[in-house]
């Protein structure tokens, strides 16, 4: 997904002179072709995220479309005020690529684990938050990202994820994609948890429980209409995300559900990272399992919810 995202910036820049690439201090060799062919639009700025974000905003306000790539936590936590003031408040068309969103940097510990990047970015007025599930979806998204009229946070959740999306279902920023329709439980997911959720839905199907699966690559704008359509048909709603319980996809679902004021309330359970800094190392997969973001636990949560 990461390679695809950066290669797409290069491909898009070849035909669109407005596009610039800005990194902080990325790994040696990053986008070498871009640097060689379009050196005037390739910026590698050093470990200075506040400056990088402000600079990108200045360029965007003068008609450029900057794609800024750096480690997700250093973008979203460290430069939060620059993102709020320079980018969102002024409506600058900056594309922030949060490299290693979610648990990707699990071995490096909590300073590097972006356990709340979706939540932080979702609070900012005007910010689109997009979490593609795999490289193919990333390609479709990047093609649309150029003309989106506002800032975008792009979550790069994993480097070598399997392709689980189906392009024939279409892709549009701000729209959800329905992967399954069923009567018992509605799973809502974003980013790389689509794969485990689809597997969970299959396992439940074998147990006689039918599921809807709504993939929301765009957490914001939230596709409220489609979400409520599907929720109306099911007894229970289970959002699953590789992000904090607080403020992300699960919160968005809870807010919309509460305001829908169903006469019979929906059964509801969020599956996400707890409200705590991650306290374990290991691989991304290790932490996904540790926090229950895997089919075994997802299936158990759905079963228990339906039994209440």
């Amino acid at each position: 997904m990461r390679k695809t995202c950066l290669n797409m910036v290069y491909r898009l820049a070849q035909t669109d002179a407005r596009i610039v690439f800005i990194g902080s201090d990325l790994g040696s060799g990053t986008l070498d072709e871009f640097r060689r062919e379009l050196p005037e639009r390739f910026f590698m700025e050093g470990i200075s995220e506040q400056c990088v974000v402000g600079m990108a905003a200045g360029m965007a306000l003068d008609g450029k479309i900057p794609y800024v790539n750096t480690i997700a936590t250093f973008l979203t936590r460290r430069a939060f005020e620059q993102i709020a003031v320079d980018v969102c408040m002024q409506g600058a068309r900056v594309r922030l690529i949060g490299n290693g969103g979610g648990l990707v940097y699990a071995p490096l510990g909590p300073t590097h684990i972006a356990s709340e990047d979706i939540s932080l970015m979702r609070t900012l007025p005007g910010m689109a938050v997009v979490c593609p599930a795999d490289a193919e979806e990333m390609t479709d998204f990047m093609l649309q990202s150029v003309e989106w009229d506002g800032p975008i946070y792009i979550r790069l959740a994993k480097g070598y994820d399997p392709v689980v999306t189906r392009r024939e279902l279409g892709f549009s920023i701000g729209k959800g994609i329905v992967y399954r329709e069923g009567a018992d439980v509605l799973f809502v997911t974003t980013g790389v948890t689509l794969g485990p959720v689809l597997e969970s839905a299959d396992r439940l199907s074998g147990m006689g429980i039918s599921s809807s699966v709504l993939h929301l690559p765009t957490v914001k704008p939230f596709d409220q209409e489609l979400f409520l359509d599907l929720a109306a048909q099911t007894r229970a709603v289970v959002p699953v995300e590789e992000n904090s319980l607080l403020g992300g996809l699960g919160s968005a679902c809870a807010e919309v559900l509460a305001e829908a004021n169903y006469s019979t309330p929906k059964r509801f359970k969020r599956i996400a990272l707890p409200d705590a800094f991650p306290d374990r190392y290991g691989s991304q997969a290790d932490l996904l399992a540790y926090y229950g973001l895997e089919p075994g636990n997802i299936v158990r949560v759905a079963q228990r919810l339906l039994e209440i």
């Binding site: 910026f43 050093g46 402000g54 600079m55 200045g58 360029m59 306000l61 003068d62 005020e81 003031v85």
Partner: protein
């Protein structure tokens, strides 16, 4: 003649402040001559076409000095007297800090400090990419130079040899809590900018001839961004406000305060 313009701008600042009883007075007064000369003689801008692509960009990074900026923008025809009268009122376009897309002639929303220089660098690099002759002026406070983002951007501007970028520091040597030397010493200030790769000049910031001279010789050095350290007096032009910390931001203005201010500027 320029003295008259300064007096006129000060009157405008005091009238705007008096109408709303809000605003930072002293940080605006230290900017009167800098902004006056910039907009009178230096900036290539067009009030009839504020978004002219080839214009120079002026970013008031110390956004709390906006009373002075608004006075100049009114003087030059970007905004009207009615706009000034609405300062900080519900439904007005002029708030206590300048906002982009609301106020013609304002190039960036500012207020939280340390944002202007990175933004200005982005503007300067965009102008270079487009081959536009635009220059970018970023006006910062001295206390603002406590922010790390200022020095991140200074490193970057120098790396990019952004000689279309000019930093102007309103060095009035006071910040909210006290003198800049007591809060966080900036000296040797000019040396710091030099060490970061800037070409530096120190200027008496209320001397319009000195300002005009230095502005006419930009960039000071080809291939280097410029830093102009303007030595100023906070509250300049109203004797009981000058270097008086309590006027940095006076939140409750009495009728007596306003009368004294009015007398001080009307009799100039």
């Amino acid at each position: 003649m320029f003295g008259n313009l300064s007096a006129k701008l000060r009157r405008s600042v005091v009238r705007t402040l008096a109408a709303s009883r809000r605003g930072h007075l002293a940080p605006a007064l230290s900017l009167i001559e800098i902004l006056g000369v910039l907009y009178d003689d230096v900036l290539r801008v067009d009030p009839d076409n504020p978004l002219w692509p080839d214009r120079d960009r002026c970013i008031l990074s110390k956004g709390h000095g906006c009373l002075a900026l608004y006075a100049v923008l009114e003087e030059k025809g970007f905004i009207t007297k009615d706009d000034l009268d609405g300062f900080c009122r519900h439904g007005s376009m002029l708030g206590g800090h300048p906002e982009l897309h609301k106020v013609p002639g304002v190039e960036a929303t500012t207020g939280s400090l340390g944002h202007g220089l990175p933004l200005g660098l982005g503007y300067a690099l965009a102008a270079r990419l487009d081959g536009r002759p635009s220059r970018v002026f970023v006006i910062m406070g001295d206390g603002e130079c406590n922010e790390g983002s200022v020095w991140e951007a200074a490193l970057s501007a120098s790396k990019h040899r952004a000689d279309n970028l000019v930093v102007i520091v309103d060095y009035n040597k006071q910040q909210s809590y006290g003198s800049t030397s007591e809060v966080v010493e900036l000296e040797p200030f000019a040396d710091k900018w030099r060490a970061f790769g800037f070409s530096v000049a120190e200027v008496p910031g209320h001397d319009h001839d000195a300002l005009r001279t230095v502005f006419s010789s930009l960039p000071l050095e080809s291939g280097k961004p410029t830093a102009l350290i303007c030595h100023t007096i906070k509250g300049k032009g109203i004797d009981f406000v000058e270097a008086n910390l309590s006027w940095h931001h006076k939140s409750s203005l009495t009728d007596q305060d306003l009368e004294r201010l009015r007398l001080a500027v009307e009799n100039e």
